[in-house]
């Protein structure tokens, strides 16, 4: 790591344990309670994931933390500074990549980067070492208008722009939505690289499979946090046996399984249904009850974050 240019000037920051501290934060839009009194903290240098469906309040939380909107109640601190009173300081220390591509489509790759560098009073050269691993991939297209880039390249440019002023905290709102699987994986590799440099990253995603790449994750839904833990810890919290079931007629299987004694829950998950078993569940009995159905198949499954999410959501 380059020691000459500290990331976001960490050495001048007040001594804090956590990069982000959220206290009982609430925000309401008309009748919709977008955030309902949430509290959590993200440590320095942590890669923290916000996992939840659309409408969970993830974007609202990002907008609050990046000082774009004010909370109705509660408070939040980023890098030790209050998001309401000290918003100016925060703005020069954080990088934000909104969910929607929001650079200038009519400016070229290079012009966009230069422009955002200038708005922070820095030059591309000063931060080149930081953005190089990402920017090098799009540098061959630097004369191309940003609007004409592919989805994956747009996202790399947006990340480069968000990093141009060496932020200490990076906010990434659904960076991988609408990006192909290979680019998504590459993107997470880039985040891992940034984490090594000591940058705190708060990232949201609706994809449960990406959650395992985070240090810790928060599962959120309808403005509330359902649980916070490491990805492994979250899965460990799933204290039921889980089965994957299949049959020729998947829909009937779902309907019937739900009525079998000892089945706590049954829901579609990819090509099969997941069945959450209560203590009194018995595989043989289950098969017997559905003996009139064709090709019934039941296997033990390892629970995933998605299973835990569904469990928490239904509680």
């Amino acid at each position: 790591m380059n020691n000459e240019l500290p990331i976001g000037g960490i050495d001048q920051a007040p001594c804090v344990m956590n990069a982000i501290e959220i206290n009982n934060l609430s925000k309401r839009y008309g009748k919709v309670q977008a955030l309902d009194g949430i509290s959590f903290a993200v440590g320095q240098g942590e890669l923290f994931g916000l996992i939840g469906p659309d409408g969970a309040g993830k974007t609202t939380l990002f907008r609050l933390l990046t000082t774009l909107i004010h909370p109705d109640s509660g408070s939040a601190k980023v890098d030790g500074y209050d998001t309401v009173n000290e918003y100016r300081i925060i703005r020069s220390r954080v990088g934000y990549m909104p969910g929607r591509f929001s650079l200038y489509p009519d400016l070229t790759v290079e012009e966009n980067l230069q422009f955002f560098a200038a708005t922070f009073g820095v030059t591309i050269e000063e931060s080149y070492d930081l953005i190089a691993p990402i920017y090098k991939q799009i540098e061959p297209f630097k004369k191309r208008p940003a609007g004409k880039l592919s989805g994956g390249m747009k996202q790399k440019l947006a990340l480069s722009c968000a990093l141009i002023h060496r932020p200490s905290v990076l906010f990434l709102d659904e960076p991988t939505t609408g990006v192909d699987a290979v680019s998504r994986s590459e993107f997470w590799d880039m985040l891992a690289g940034l984490k090594k440099l000591g940058i705190t990253i708060l990232v949201s995603t609706p994809y449960m499979d990406e959650a395992s790449r985070c240090d810790r994750i928060a599962l959120c839904n309808e403005g509330k946090i359902l649980g916070i833990d490491t990805p492994k810890g979250i899965v460990r919290g799933f204290d039921r046996r889980l089965y994957g079931i299949r049959a020729k007629n998947m829909f009937t299987l779902l309907e019937r399984s739900r009525r079998v004694a000892g089945v706590e829950d049954c829901y579609p998950c990819g090509e099969q249904h997941h069945l959450v078993a209560a203590d009194n569940f018995d595989v043989a009995m289950f098969k017997a009850q559905l003996s009139d159905m064709e090709d019934v198949n039941i296997v033990i499954k390892e629970p995933t974050i998605e299973d835990m999410f569904i469990k928490l959501m239904k509680r």
Partner: protein, 367 residues
């Protein structure tokens, strides 16, 4: 300051890269100033006339030849049946019918003849009214000629007419200054508002808002390019008016530029206020369009304020374009000075302060 310059540079870069805006900025003033004055004229020409000649005399032929000779009137039909003439009028082929009664020539020499009747199509009230007047003048001319021939006495001119400031009563000279206002409203009013709302729509304003750049700096960077473009456009417009129509302001060009600066400030502040309340470009367009209609129709641009009903005249006090139109016309046609027009300049200055304050206040409200 450096960030501000970068923002301005970016704004110009975006304008230049836009496939449409640079052309609009160049072509629009030229088109408005070059072509519109030719079209927008209240002079009535090509009034089609039919003569129903029941007399077939020297007098009727003389009237017909005078009508033919007039540059405003065109003699299209000569008939002896009134019903055919009225039919042509109904079909819109002619605008005015002149019926010369039987024995008009004979009776005219003796005493009082039967009256000549004029029928005009007044659907277009201006054309009907003016057409009627032209006909009356032409006939009166013919009759006075005939009378002076029989009674060899020169009819002395009893009335002299002088049109001060616009000696030839050229409607264009009245319109050209007003057309410049349209340029300002569209270029300094519409474009910055659309540019700001465009950033709202594309979400890039979000990205700007998380940078240390203040909203004030950002907004100013949106306006300054259009202020510069506005002053460029007024210069082009003045040049076109001079080259194409020989219209040179009698008063000082400085007064025109001072008015332009105040008016640009006013109209851009106004458009910012609208942009603050709009989420989409469509919304901005429609709201702006509503106000532009009011500005164009009520500011004395097309019809004089003095001939409006009393309540409307009072209403025009709150329309900023009214003051700049007065400045432009007075400086162009009368050669008025800034001192003579100071109430107009003060009014524009007050509007500039009001609208920009309003814009600043409404901007803060949206957290």
């Amino acid at each position: 300051m450096r960030a501000f310059l970068v923002l301005i540079q970016k704004e110009f870069l975006q304008i230049r890269r836009n496939s449409f805006l640079p052309r609009l900025i160049i072509a629009f003033p030229i088109m408005i100033m070059l072509i519109m004055p030719l079209i927008m004229t209240m002079d009535v020409r090509n009034v089609n006339v039919a003569i129903v000649d029941l007399d077939r005399s020297t007098a009727s032929r003389r009237i017909a030849s005078h009508i033919e000779a007039s540059e405003y009137l065109t003699l299209t039909h000569t008939t002896t049946e009134y019903s055919r003439a009225i039919e042509a009028l109904e079909h819109g082929m002619i605008d005015v019918i002149v019926q010369i009664p039987e024995h008009f020539d004979r009776d005219f020499m003796i005493a009082t003849p039967q009256r000549i009747s004029i029928t005009a199509n007044a659907v277009n009230a201006t054309k009907g009214g003016l057409g009627m007047q032209y006909i009356m003048q032409t006939i009166a001319l013919s009759l006075s000629e005939m009378r002076s021939e029989s009674v060899p006495v020169e009819i002395s001119e009893l009335v002299t007419i002088e049109n001060r400031y616009n000696p030839t009563l050229n409607y264009r000279h009245y319109m050209i200054p007003a057309l410049m206002i349209i340029l300002f409203i569209l270029i300094c009013g519409f474009l910055p508002a659309l540019s700001i709302v465009g950033e709202k729509e594309s979400g890039s304003i979000e990205q700007i808002n998380v940078t240390p750049i203040s909203r004030f700096t950002f907004t100013l960077s949106k306006l300054v390019p259009y202020w510069i473009i506005g002053l460029f456009v007024v210069t082009v417009a003045m040049l076109v008016a001079r080259l194409a129509y020989g219209l040179v302001p009698i008063g000082s060009v400085g007064a025109i530029y001072l008015g332009a600066i105040l008016f640009i400030l006013t109209i851009s502040g106004f458009s910012l206020t609208i942009a603050n309340f709009s989420e989409t470009m469509q919304q901005t367009m429609f709201v702006m369009f509503f106000f532009i209609m009011v500005f164009m129709l009520m500011s004395g641009l097309l019809t004089p304020i003095d001939s409006m009903p009393d309540w409307a005249q009072k209403f025009t006090i709150i329309l900023p374009p009214r003051y700049y139109i007065e400045i432009l016309r007075s400086v162009y046609l009368k050669g008025s000075t800034i001192a003579e027009l100071n109430s107009n300049f003060i009014a524009l200055g007050v509007f500039a302060i009001i609208f920009n304050t309003l814009a600043a206040l409404t901007y803060k409200k949206q957290a």
